[in-house]
C-alpha cells in the first residue's frame, strides 16, 4: 500500500478521456468497421459463389429433367392386341412386342409425322406405349395420344445444336405442333442407359443411398467412439500419440489411396462384392472416420471440465459422465464434422474407381451387395459421354446429387440445432 502514494501524484485526468485516446478510438472504430466489413465480405463472397454455382447448375440442369417427345395418336383397333394378366411386367411387355406393338407404333408415327419424322422416334418408344397399356388395358379399345421420346440426335437438333441435317425437320415438326419438351418423370425412376433420352438417375441415387448408409453406420459410431476414447480415457502416452497421429494423417491421405486399400483388403476378403455398395461404403467410411474423430475431439474438448466434475462428484462413473453429459453437449460439433465428412464421401469418386463402381449398371440395386454405381460416378461417366444429350442430363444429375446432399445436411443440421446448448 506504500506504493499507492507514489502514483496519485498527477492530476486526475483519466487516460481514457485524453484526446490521444479519442483519436485512437477513431482508428479502432475504423478497424472495427473494416473488420466487420471483411467478415461480411467473406460471407458474402462465399454466398455469392454458392449462388452462382447453384444458379448455373440449376439453369443448365433443369432442361435435363425434360426430354423431347412426339405427340402421336395411336389406335389399336383391329390389331387384336391382348394384354397378358401377370405380375411380371417384363413378360407382359414381351408379349405385346411379339404381337407387333413396335410396328403398330411406328406405323402410327409415320401417319402423323411422315417417314422422316417416324425415323426419329426412339427405338424404345413403343415400350412407353406398352407400359401405358399394361397400366390400363382399356387403352387398347380407346387408343390414345402418346408422348413418344425422340431419338437422341433429333432431340439435340430440336434444341438447335448438333448436326445441321436434322434441324430443318425439327423446325418443321415443331411448326406442326407434333414435338415438344416434356417433363421426364422416368428420369427419376430409371437407371443408366446409353441413350440420353432413356437414362435415369434412380439407379445411381439408390446406389449412393446404400453406400452412404454403410458409410454412416460405420464411420459415425467408430469415429465418435474413437474421439471419446482419445479425449476422455486415453492415457497420455506414446500409444495414444500414435493413434492421434495416424488419425490426423488419415484425414490427409488422398482419397484414391483409400481406394487402393479397399481393393487390397476388402476385395481380397470379399471377392464377390466388387462394385457393391457395401464395399464402397466401407472404403468411404475409412475416409470419413478421421474427419468425424477430429471434429468430435474438438467438440468434446470444448465441454467445460466443470460439467464433468459436477457429474463425477455425484458419483457418476466415467462412462456415465461421458455418455450422459459430454456426448450430448459435444453432439452439435460432432455433427458438423459428420456433415462435412459425409458431404465429402457423397461427392467422392476417386476411391470408388478402384473398387468397381465406375460401371454401367442398368438396373437399380436392390440391396447392399448388388452391383451399383453412385451419383458422382454417374455424373463423371455422363460428363464424358460422347452424345450431346448427356450434357443436360449431367447437370440434372448434379442437381439430384445436391438435393440429396441438402436432405442429408438438413437432417444433420436440424439435429445440430436441436442439441446446441450454451453454458
Amino acid at each position: 500500500m506504500s506504493e499507492a502514494a507514489t502514483m496519485t501524484g498527477n492530476p486526475i485526468v483519466t487516460p481514457t478521456r485524453s484526446p490521444a485516446f479519442e483519436a485512437r478510438l477513431k482508428k479502432r472504430y475504423a478497424a472495427e468497421r473494416r473488420f466487420k466489413a471483411l467478415g461480411l465480405g467473406a460471407v458474402g463472397f462465399s454466398l455469392l459463389v454458392l449462388v452462382f454455382l447453384l444458379g448455373t447448375m440449376i439453369w443448365n440442369g433443369l432442361g435435363g429433367f425434360q426430354r423431347t417427345v412426339f405427340d402421336v395418336p395411336v389406335s389399336f383397333e383391329g390389331m387384336g392386341l391382348t394384354v397378358m394378366q401377370t405380375d411380371n411386367e417384363g413378360a407382359a411387355i414381351r408379349a405385346l412386342q411379339s404381337q407387333g406393338l413396335p410396328e403398330i407404333v411406328s406405323f402410327a408415327a409415320e401417319k402423323t409425322l411422315g417417314e422422316a419424322g417416324a425415323a426419329q422416334i426412339n427405338s424404345e418408344a413403343w415400350r412407353e406405349v406398352a407400359s401405358a397399356i399394361i397400366a390400363d388395358p382399356s387403352v387398347v379399345q380407346r387408343g390414345g395420344t402418346f408422348a413418344l421420346p425422340t431419338t437422341d440426335r433429333f432431340s439435340t437438333a430440336y434444341l438447335g445444336e448438333g448436326q445441321a441435317a436434322l434441324q430443318p425437320l425439327a423446325r418443321e415438326l415443331e411448326a406442326q405442333g407434333h414435338v415438344r419438351r416434356a417433363f421426364d418423370f422416368g428420369f427419376l425412376s430409371r437407371a443408366d442407359a446409353t441413350d440420353a433420352q432413356l437414362v435415369g438417375i434412380w439407379g445411381a441415387l439408390v446406389g449412393s443411398f446404400y453406400t452412404m448408409i454403410v458409410t454412416l453406420l460405420l464411420a459415425f459410431p467408430i469415429g465418435v467412439l474413437a474421439a471419446l476414447y482419445l479425449e476422455e480415457y486415453a492415457p497420455r502416452n506414446r500409444w495414444t500419440d500414435i493413434i492421434e497421429v495416424s488419425i490426423n494423417n488419415l484425414a490427409a491421405v488422398p482419397s484414391i489411396i483409400f481406394g487402393l486399400l479397399g481393393l487390397a483388403v476388402f476385395l481380397t476378403l470379399f471377392p464377390t462384392l466388387r462394385s457393391a455398395p457395401v464395399i464402397g461404403g466401407m472404403t468411404l467410411a475409412l475416409m470419413t472416420m478421421p474427419v468425424i474423430v477430429i471434429s468430435g475431439r474438438n467438440a468434446i474438448k470444448a465441454v467445460p471440465p466443470s460439467i464433468r466434475d459436477g457429474a463425477l462428484a455425484v458419483g457418476a462413473s466415467p462412462v456415465q459422465v461421458v455418455f450422459h453429459h459430454v456426448l450430448p453437449l459435444a453432439l452439435p460439433g460432432i455433427l458438423t464434422g459428420t456433415i462435412i465428412g459425409m458431404a465429402r464421401a457423397l461427392g467422392e469418386t476417386a476411391p470408388l474407381l478402384l473398387i468397381g463402381m465406375r460401371a454401367f449398371v442398368s438396373t437399380p440395386p436392390t440391396g447392399f451387395t448388388d452391383n451399383a454405381t453412385v451419383l458422382p460416378m454417374q455424373i463423371y461417366l455422363w460428363s464424358d459421354q460422347v452424345t450431346r444429350g448427356f450434357v443436360e442430363r449431367t447437370s440434372a444429375a448434379i442437381i439430384v446429387l445436391l438435393v440429396f446432399l441438402l436432405l442429408m445436411n438438413g437432417l444433420a443440421i436440424y439435429l445440430r440445432n436441436r442439441f446446441e446448448k450454451k453454458w
Partner: protein, 329 residues
Amino acid sequence: ACGSGGGSTSNLAVRAVGSSTVYPFATVVSELFSRNHPDLPAPLIESTGTGGGIALFCAGDGAQTPSIANASRRMKVSEFETCQANGVTDIIEVQIGMDGVVMAAAKNGITLNLTPEMVYRALAANPYGQPQTARNWNDVDPSLPALPILVYGPPTTSGTRDSFNELILMAGCDTNADMKALKDSDEDRHKQVCTEVRSDGAYVDQGEQDNLIVQKIESNPNAVGVFGYSYMEENLDRVRGVPMGGVEPTYDNIASFAYPGARAMFIYVKKSHIDAIPGLREFLATWAESWGRGGPLAQIGLVVNPDDVMARSNSAITELRTLTAADFQ
C-alpha cells in the same frame, strides 16, 4: 447361410472390365443384349482402364473374375504371361473395331494444314533430339499461321494418347532418317525422342475429358484439340477437323487409313467361361451383330474394321481360337 466361394446373392453374369475408350461401345452392346435376352442377367461393364482391366482379367480363372477384358490396345506379352501364370490359359482375342484419333479446331478457329512431321516438330519435347524452340506454328513451318502453338490433348496414361503417339508423332518423327536409324540402334531412346511431348504449356494434358477439350477449343479459337473421332463427329457443329497431309479426318478417310489416326480396339474373352457363364456366348454374338457398317456402334463413332479383320473377328467368336505366345511375335 449362403455359400462358400461364389455365393453372392446374384446369379453369375457376364462381367467386362477395362478401357474407358471401349466402355461406351460395350455399354451399348450390353443394352442390346439385355433387350434381346431379357431372361439372362444383365452384363456388368466396368471402366477401369485397359491395364487395370487386364490385371483383373488375368488374376485367375474363377467365376468371380471378369470374363472379358476391354482393351484400347493390344495385350502386352508381359500381361499375357501373367495371365498364363495365373491359370488363364485360353484367351480369345477379338478386334471389335477401331478408334480414330483426330486433331480438330473450333469451327471458326485457326486453320491449319498439318502433316505428322509438323505436329511432331511442334509438340515434341526435343524434336529430333534438339531443344524445342518453336513458339508459334510458323516457327515449325512457314506455311502455317503466326499463332501460338496450343494443343489440348489426352494424358500419357490414356489410350487415345498412345495412338496419337504411335500414329502421328512416331510417323512424323520417322520422316527423319536419323530417327529411323535410331530406332534400330536404341529403341528406347527412339521412343522417347519421338513420343515425349513438351510440357511448357504448348501441349496441355487435359485428363481423359474429351468433352472438356471440345469446350476449351470452342472457346479458344487458336487452340487445337486431340481426341477420339466419335467426339468430333458428335460436335461437328462446333469443331472442324484439322487435315493431316491434306486428308480431312472423315469417317471414310479414317476407315481407309488415309487419315493417319486409327487404331484397333480389342476385347479379350476367357474361353473357359464360354460354357460356364450364362449369356457369355450370346453377349459375344451381340458384339458381332453390332459392330458392322451402319450398326449401332458405328452410329456412336466406332470406326468399323476392314473386311479382312472383320472376318477374322467373326471367326474368332465362332471358332473360339485362343491366343498363343506366337501371336505376339
